[in-house]
């Protein structure tokens, strides 16, 4: 994998958050403030534009540019969280021009650590962590077992989607949804939903290469 992988991942995310924009807004309307789909679409449109203007930066740099772009265009909770996540992931790769499966696991682990550090959310708090953590753990385990990357990423995306659905019965303990107390139960978390799209986008970007 190389810089092209990152660019096509970001394009996959942009297309899917745009297609799911209204759904994400509806989910956020139920337990938040109805802006999540708009925030994510604005951010990833800007990311695709920024990467389109880039001339041959290595993959780690592209992730850092993407993260900075999210921080500077999204606002909300998701902007700093995903922005810091992509920057942390990008720093793992330094200036290398290619990376392998094991390094992809490191990138995603660093991204997860950064979200948890900044947002102080744990598994079960009904946030994006509930989709991201199972995805990262699944990918790590499958790669360690020697499973082919495309298959491992498919399992990781499925784990994110399970985690996303698993937020429905939870009571939110972080973010805006926590203000609702018990009334947040029964709704799927918007941030976990867009996170599942982001991991599915990675799976698509990688499998279209092979």
């Amino acid at each position: 994998m190389d810089a092209t992988t990152i660019s096509s991942w970001m394009r996959e995310i942009e297309a899917s958050v745009r297609a799911e924009r209204d759904h994400l807004v509806q989910l956020d309307a139920a337990i938040g403030d109805a802006d999540h789909g708009i925030n994510m679409t604005r951010g990833f449109e800007a990311v695709v534009q920024a990467l389109g203007a880039d001339n041959g930066s290595p993959p780690g740099r592209l992730l850092i540019i993407a993260g900075r772009t999210l921080v500077s265009t999204v606002g909300g909770a998701s902007g700093p969280l995903w922005g810091s996540a992509l920057r942390a992931g990008g720093r793992v790769l330094g200036d290398q021009t290619t990376f392998d499966s094991a390094q992809l696991v490191e990138v995603l682990s660093a991204a997860l650590a950064s979200v948890k550090d900044l947002g102080t959310a744990a598994l079960g708090d009904k946030t994006m962590v509930d989709a991201l953590e199972p995805a990262v753990e699944t990918l790590k385990a499958r790669i360690a077992d020697g499973e082919p990357l495309a298959q491992a990423l498919d399992a990781a995306a499925a784990a994110a989607e399970d985690g996303m659905r698993g937020t429905i019965p939870l009571q939110a303990r972080k973010g805006r949804a926590s203000y609702l107390g018990e009334r947040s139960v029964g709704h799927q978390d918007p941030g976990a939903t867009s996170t599942a799209l982001i991991i599915r986008g990675l799976q698509r970007a990688v499998s279209s290469e092979s």
Binding site: D22, V25, A29, A30, I31, G32, D33, A34, D35, I38, N39, R42, V71, S72, T73, V74, G75, G76, A77, S78, G79, P80, L81, L118, G119, Q171, R173, K174, G175, R176, S178, Y179, L180, G181, R183
Partner: protein, 340 residues
């Protein structure tokens, strides 16, 4: 009675440009007080930076007007950072504002306690520190409708924000140093409690849909300022009954001693006319006196709003002589002005 509609009836050219076009209008209307920095999307006091004066900035999602742009001027904020509707602004705006107003005495970030605002201001304060600017941050969290516990993001920042900006703005104008003015912001926050009630939802321009449906005859108790649902739903009673709930919620948390002097702030959410807000104030005034609390200062009007939401919030601030004299001091902004 709350009438919900799916149709959006708003003055718009392009829903995506609503914030920018509104800020341009604010600047056109009040060019004597402030300027609009289009590139950074910030509103800056016209004579900023004021050399040697502690500067105050705040920011948050748009849709709460006149907060915060309407509070930029003499004796209140030095700059405001408006985000998209109901979405926190980004660190770049906050850094640009911090640099634009720093007169060498330091800058205070007044942050409402929402995850988005807190995270974005945190990144901005780190950037400002890297550039050698002294920044302190105070998080406002006065909303008693949210339990302050490990199981929530903590109480929201609502009405106390307006009072803190006014009172600390006066302290900064009077020459208070960074530590002193920061303490004033904290003191106002610690001594304030708020509770809000919604009679209708509101319609963000970008989605064009009401955030929640409120059945005929129902109200939301404990709402915030983003059209988000509150903690529970109840039947709409008489004004006196609804005000009982608000006063009781605030007093039972603030627990003022008998004879305490307070500032009572009755705030409209955007869709409730002054006719009703004064009626509400009348009830508040009566009930406070009956409870042995003395409303020696007040503010009535729509200052921290939620687009066209119908409803009101009550904020009580326990006063002391210093806070009273800072409240009475001159203020000259688009939305609050006295003593000029």
């Amino acid at each position: 009675m709350a009438v919900e509609t799916h149709l959006m009836r708003k003055f718009l050219n392009d829903p995506a440009a609503v914030v920018k076009e509104s800020l341009a209008g604010l600047a056109a209307a009040h060019s004597d007080l402030l300027r609009y920095d289009v590139a950074n999307q910030i509103i800056v006091r016209k004579d900023a930076p004021k050399k040697g004066k502690v500067a105050l900035i705040s920011g948050g999602g748009s849709g709460h007007e006149p907060m915060h742009g309407g509070f930029v001027g003499v004796g209140m904020l030095d700059a405001a950072c408006p985000g998209e509707v109901f979405t926190s602004p980004v660190p770049g705006q906050m850094l640009a504002a911090t640099k634009a107003v720093d007169g060498g005495a330091g800058v205070i970030h007044i942050v409402k306690n929402y995850t988005g605002d807190v995270l974005n201001f945190k990144l901005a304060a780190e950037d400002a520190a890297d550039e050698g600017i002294k920044v302190t941050s105070v998080v406002i969290d006065d909303d008693v409708a949210v339990q302050d516990s490990l199981y929530t993001a903590g109480r929201r920042g609502v009405g106390a924000t307006v009072l803190a900006e006014k009172i600390a703005g006066a302290a900064a104008e009077a020459g208070g140093d960074l530590a002193k003015v920061t303490d004033i912001v904290k003191r106002v926050n610690e001594r304030s409690r708020s509770f809000g009630v919604a009679l209708s939802s509101c319609v963000p321009p970008a989605s064009g849909k009401v955030i929640f449906e409120l059945p005929e005859g129902q109200i939301e108790l404990g709402v915030g300022i983003h059209g988000e649902p509150g903690r529970r739903r109840a039947p709409l009673g008489s004004a006196s009954e609804v005000v009982d709930v608000m006063v009781e919620a605030v007093l039972s948390d603030l627990k003022p001693k008998q004879g305490t002097k307070v500032l009572a702030f009755v705030n409209g959410m955007g869709g409730t006319p002054l006719l009703e807000l004064y009626l509400v104030y009348g009830e508040v005034d009566k009930k406070l006196r009956k409870a042995g609390v003395e409303p020696v200062r007040n503010l009535v009007g729509s200052y921290i709003t939620s687009l066209e939401m119908a409803g009101a919030s009550l904020t009580l601030l326990e006063l002391d002589e210093e806070l009273i004299s800072l409240w009475d001091a001159r203020v000259h902004t688009a939305a609050l002005r006295w003593g000029i």
